[in-house]
Each structure stands twice: as C-alpha cells, then as structure tokens.
Amino acid sequence: MAAAATLPTLEDALALGLTAAEYELVCEKQDGPPNVLELAMYSLLWSEHCAYKHSKKLLRTLPTEGKHVVMGPGENAGAVDVGGGLVCAFKVESHNHPSAVEPFQGAATGVGGILRDVFAVGARPIAVLDSLRFGEPAGEGAARTRYLLDGAVSGIGHYGNSIGVPTIGGEVYFEGPYEQNCLVNAMALGLAERERLVRSAAAGEGNVLVLFGASTGRDGIGGASVLASAELGDGGSDKRPTVQVGDPFEEKKLLECSLELLQRELLVSLQDLGAAGLTSSAAEMASKGEVGIEIDIARVPLREADMEPFEVMVSESQERMLCVVEPDKLDAVLALCEKWEVGGSAIGTVTSTGRVRVTQDGELVGDMPVRALVDDCPLYDLQPAKPSEPVYPPPVATLGSATTPSETLLALLSCPNIASRRPLFEQYDAIVQSRTVRRPEQADAAVLVLEDAEKASARGARVLATVRGFGATSDAHHLTAPHPDGAGATAAITKALRDSGLEPEDIDYINAHGTSTPLNDRAETKAIKAALGDHASRVPVSSTKSAIGHLLGAAGAVEATATILALRDRIAPPTLGWEEREEGMDLDYVPNQARPLDVNGGPAIGLSNAFGFGGHNVVLCLEA
C-alpha cells in the first residue's frame, strides 16, 4: 500500500460522516492524519449507529439492574434468570432503512443479525417476533406499502423458517407518516443454561482470534465507497458495493457450530459481526477486555479478489462470528468448523498493546489505540425543541355521527389495523422446536414451554403446584356482559370440579375473576353459590385485581400464579378497598386483610376463575 502520499483529507472525512471537530480529534488521537483504513474505521465506530453518540447520555439514565438480571447492557444481548438454572437472552433491533430499500433482504438480515446477537451469548434462539409499521395500504402510497409489507413478511419468514427458529408473534400497523420511514423491528429470544452464557471481552495475550462463518465480500460498504474511488488499482475490477444478502442456511450451520464450540468449552469469548463488520467486533472485543488486537487481513477468507484492507475491515458480509481461542484449543475449534462446514480461519492475536493493529502479509496498514476507537468518541447532548406545528397532520376521521351502524361495521372490518393478520403469520413456522403452546391468534400472547416435566424432575426441580383439572365454557350471551345468573361461570366451576374428581368441600380458596363491577361480581357470586352449594359460604373468595387491576394481557396467568402462591403459603390474599356489603353479596370476600388458610393438614386446593366478555370462562383447579 502506498505511503503518506495518499492520505485522506478533511473533505474525505466529512464525506464519511465525521464532523470537522471529530476529524481533528481523530488526528490528535493518531498523532497525525489517519490513513484510508484508519479513517474508515474511525468513521464507522464514531457513527451514530455504532457509538450512539447522541443517545448514550440518555440511555445511561435508564435502570439496568435487577435481582434477575444476569447480563445487562454492553453485551450482545441482555439475559434474565428464569429459574431452574435457565436464563432467557433477548434483544430487539430495527432494520428500517435497509428494509425501505430492499424489504425482503432488509427484513431477512434484520432477523439474521438479531439471531446472531442471541447465540453470540451462548443461548439457543427459541423464538422470533417482529413489530412492523408501514404507510396506508390504500390510496396514493398503496403500491409501495404493499411492496414493503409483502417483502418484509416474506423476508422474516424466509430467514426464521429456514434457520429453524419459530416466529411466534408480532404486530403490524399502518399509518400515513410511516410511508416515508417504515419500521421493521426484529426480536429474538434465546434459552441457555446459566453457566453456558459467554461474554465478548477478548482476553489472554497470545490467544488467537478466529473468524468463522461465511467468507468476506464487499457487502454493505456504503459510505466508505468514497474511499474506493480514491484507491484506483490496476485493471477494471468492479468495486461497487453490494446489497447485504442473508443466507439462513449458512447461519444455521454457524449457530450449531457456535453452540457446540461453547458446549465443548473451547472458547474464551465470542462476538458476532454486524454493523461495521470486523472493525466493530474486533475493536469492541478489545475494548471490553482492555487488551489489544492484531489482525492480518491476508488471513481473512475473501469471496472477491483484490479487496483493499479497509474493505476487508468494514465489510458487512453476513453470517460471520469472531472468537478468542487459547492456542492449544485452536485445532479443535477449526475441526469443529470443518464438521459444520463453516469456514474457520485464525486471523490474528490478542496483544497487550491496547492498540488495534491491522497488517497485510506482515506489513502494517493500520494502527489505532483501542480506547480512541471505542471509548473516546465524543458524546453529545440532544437539544430538543418542540416544533411550532405538528410534524405530521392528524389523521382524518372517516367515521362520524352520521355514519350508520352497518357502514361503521363495514368500515371497521375493512380497516387494515383491525383486519385479521392471518395472511401474514401463516407465512411463519410458529412451531419448530416443539415449544409452542399458544400459536398466533390462539391467544393474545404466544406461550412457550421452556422446560418439560421430565427434565425438571431429573434436576430435582421443586413442584410448586399441580393442575388438578380445569373447566372451560364458551357462550354468546352478550357482547359485553355475563349472564346475570352466572350460567357459563357455574358450568365452568362445575366442570373444573368434575375434571379434578373433587367435591365442593375440597376447595380451600377461590381467586375470583372479581373485576369489582356490579355485573361480574354479582354473577360470579351466584355462580360460586350454584356450583359449591352450602360450602360456598365457608370458602374465602378474594380478588387480587384489587391489588393489581385487570391486566391487559396474561391476566389469567398472573392470577393463577397468585393463586399458586396463596395455596403454597397457605395465605388468603385480601380483597383491597372493600368498603361495604351489598345486598345478596354474602360470601367471605377476605375484606382488606390477608389471613391464613385453614386446610386441615391436607393439601391446599383452590380455584382460579377467569371470565371474559362473550362470554368465555375458564376455571383452573390447583393444588399445592
């Protein structure tokens, strides 16, 4: 590579997105103007995407710690303890701009990237979800909206389905302002044993850096294309950057290889390659470990000939991971890469210099302090100012008081924000890995099994409670009110008792649906009396909604949990805010104060009621 004669200028720096002040700072950190490679690396690591320079100060004000937080901000994904020695790792990321340009690959690579973040910490991805926003699918921008929607959904399905991770939920909404800026957010959730979690800090002087996965090409070299034109080599080889194309098959092999490497305890640390490719991965691993890194770009497997050193360092080719390996484990690591048919190559070493040094066949082509690259990016304070007028016009109401009920109904049914999402979620495999208990449309949230009973008992897990039985009924009494005599609820309670093989006298506690509405509470009281007969007046009946309200999602699950804890601890939770007894409401509602449950030395058995408009009624019979 040529010497100082071809050093980039301030203009080049500005074209790459650095400010004049930032360029000055870079020159200071480098003891002189940076070369092409160095400028490219700074411009990427100091970009908004990598450095969060306008939001980091705000992000630091958010709470990040908690009793169950195992991995907080700073690693590839966050992780929380979910009990049983298991942790769930998860992350959400947006891929809006790539999806606006090429929706299929933009969304697909969004999923690919978020999956890599999750298995980079050692968790097997068990679910993908997506949150999408587009413009109106009717009217002027309709064709483009449909193009983006179709592409994004197909892309998400293509990647998730092919890699064998179920897409179990998501949302999509359409509103005019999103036409110019669609949102494609991909979330991945992973499961790992707590001891298997791995961090990304590079460590150990002399340890080897191994790059594995797909080969490196010119994918995603965007802003740095300015430099491409400044570096004319001989011949007319095409240096145009290419759009990122994801290959879920490559990532499936990469995933299995990574998890097996971790399972065999062959790695010191692991990091995936995302935005800014090797540049960010190597620099961030070095920064977290407070070490230095040396990379020989001649050892990076390339998919295109004659790539410049800066191109190798900034390429965003998909499906690649970087790991740190002790020298005596290198052969085993490379052998495992071969087994899974992913390329594996030792490309560098961990040093104690605190610098990132890039060489090409022994010649030094770039040398930067790690701290300058990662930690010393200037952070800015946002100066928000409220616009004098709304940025977007308010939505125009299309239904008014003059609209007839049938016109209203038809308008609502045809509204894309209310219409069924079935044509979308049917493109997703929601069941691979056999964990899915509730699929899209079966409930308001997806439900997954994290651990089956056999595994739980094999590790001596403590059973908190058993479901003795349940009763469920469904009727069409009224859109918003239960049957006044609680007919459906009575049937559900009776069925639950029968399903459990129990008598009314066996019930020690009832966690009521108890919404504190005259309609529900009266009907529910009647139902309890009808189903339990004389015993009804002897059972404590309380509503935990009095403490937490009616949750908008998973209310039944949360209240079942409360019931389990009440039974386990033999305490009847109170109905808070209970003030005066109404006519006909004569059960024991455990007013205002918790009290011990008297279970006569036997197991504690309770009912958890969950009733919904329509109505649909479920009663769980639990024993602890």
Binding site: G164, P248, F249, K252, F425, I431, V432, Q433, S434, T436
Partner: protein, 225 residues
C-alpha cells in the same frame, strides 16, 4: 425397537422427530456423513431446509453418505419415513414416485390440516382406522405433490395413496389432494405434514401424529414375532 433420525446441515425438525420417536421407542440421531445406521429398525428423514434447499429441496441431501445406507436399507425392506423435506429427499432419491413442486398459493404456509387415512393396512398407518381423520400441522413452501397420470394410476391400483388433505384443505394444490404416499412395497412413506409436531396436546392440541410412529413400532415388532 430403535428409530434412527437423520441430521443434515440445515435440518430443522430432527430434534422434534427424535423427541416424538422417543415417546414410542428408542431413538438416535444419525449424522449425514455417517454410513452406519446404528442398528436402527426404522429411519426417519426429517423436515427442515437441508443444504438450504439449494438447487432443489432435497436435491443435495439425497447424495449424503447416510442416504446411501438408507437407500440400501429401504431396498432390503427397512421402514423409512420421510417428513416434509424428508419426503422431498425420498422423491429425489427415487425411493418414492413423483415430486414436490411449489405450493399453488406460491407462499410458505403454516396451517393445521386435517388428513384422511386412505390406506390403513400398512406399516405407517396400521394404528389408524380407514377413513380416520388426523389433525396435523403442515408448514412448507414446496409441497405440491405431482406425478404423471400413468404413475398416479399405477399408484392408485397398488394402494399407494396413504393420506389425503380432507375437505379440499390443501393450500399446496397437490394432485388429488394427496398428502402422503408410500412405495409399491409399502416400506417407504413420505408426507408433507409434520406428525412429529402432533404428539402432545399441550403443544398444539393434537396427538394424532403419534399414531404414525406407533404404527411403525407395531410393524417392526410384528415383523419380529
């Protein structure tokens, strides 16, 4: 009795198939590069995207060393079940007639489907009744079964149509709504829906798929007697 479940690069439902098979007998994974079928009494070629569906779905997997052994195993009368991508592999390997084309609706589609048992006398549906309905999930983009008229007529005569999508439910447009077929000898069976995903009512609401694994166990143990 032991099931052997093949595992190719890109297979997705092999662990699900392994877990399903383990509900009725022993089961073990067989790596695609291995020729040794580990004494398996029956082979399952699982669903997924082996080799990324490069070239054609199943086109590359059929050349795997393990598949060479499976082809020989099938020629000797061994039981082979192909699920989804596995069905595609078996067609590519010539162990089953016909081919799987792109879905008529031109999309990957995931849907719980109802299957009608057309042939209950064999090794894969022996535990089912003739005409019985099985609720089993299907999830694929290339599941439209096709064979030419002559082949179909011969298959019909020989009772090789085993499962059909009930009530015109096929989103993939398979000829005669065929969901699963077997070879003439009846020891190789392929279907696009996933029985391994219908073995536990908790996870999906139907355990109808277990009958297929159960049928295979009965067939193997019956043959031993």
């Amino acid at each position: 009795m032991k099931f052997g479940v093949l595992q190719f690069p890109g297979s997705c439902d092999e662990v699900d198939a392994l877990q399903a098979a383990r509900r009725v007998a022993d089961a073990e994974l067989i790596w695609h590069g291995e020729r040794d079928l580990k004494g398996a009494d029956a082979i399952v070629v699982p669903g997924g995207f082996s080799y990324g569906d490069y070239l054609r779905a199943g086109a590359i997997a059929r050349f795997a060393p393990a598949m060479e052994s499976v082809i020989a195993f099938a020629r000797d009368g061994g039981l082979v079940l192909g699920i989804c991508n596995g069905f595609q592999v078996l067609c590519e390997a010539g162990l089953l007639p016909g081919a799987l084309l792109g879905n008529a609706n031109r999309r990957f589609t995931f849907r719980q489907v109802e299957l009608e048992v057309l042939n209950s006398g064999g090794s894969f549906t022996g535990a089912c009744a003739l005409g019985e309905r099985l609720s089993i999930p299907a999830k694929h983009a290339w599941g439209r079964y096709y064979a030419d008229t002559e082949t179909l007529a011969a298959m019909d005569r020989a009772g090789q149509f085993v499962l059909r999508y009930a009530g015109g439910e096929s989103f993939n447009g398979s000829v005669h709504d065929i969901a699963g077929v077997c070879n003439e000898r009846g020891n190789v069976f392929g279907l696009m829906p996933h029985p391994e995903h219908a073995v536990d009512e908790l996870v999906g609401g139907s355990a109808d798929g277990l009958k297929i694994f159960e049928s295979m166990r009965l067939a193997v143990e019956g043959a031993r007697v």
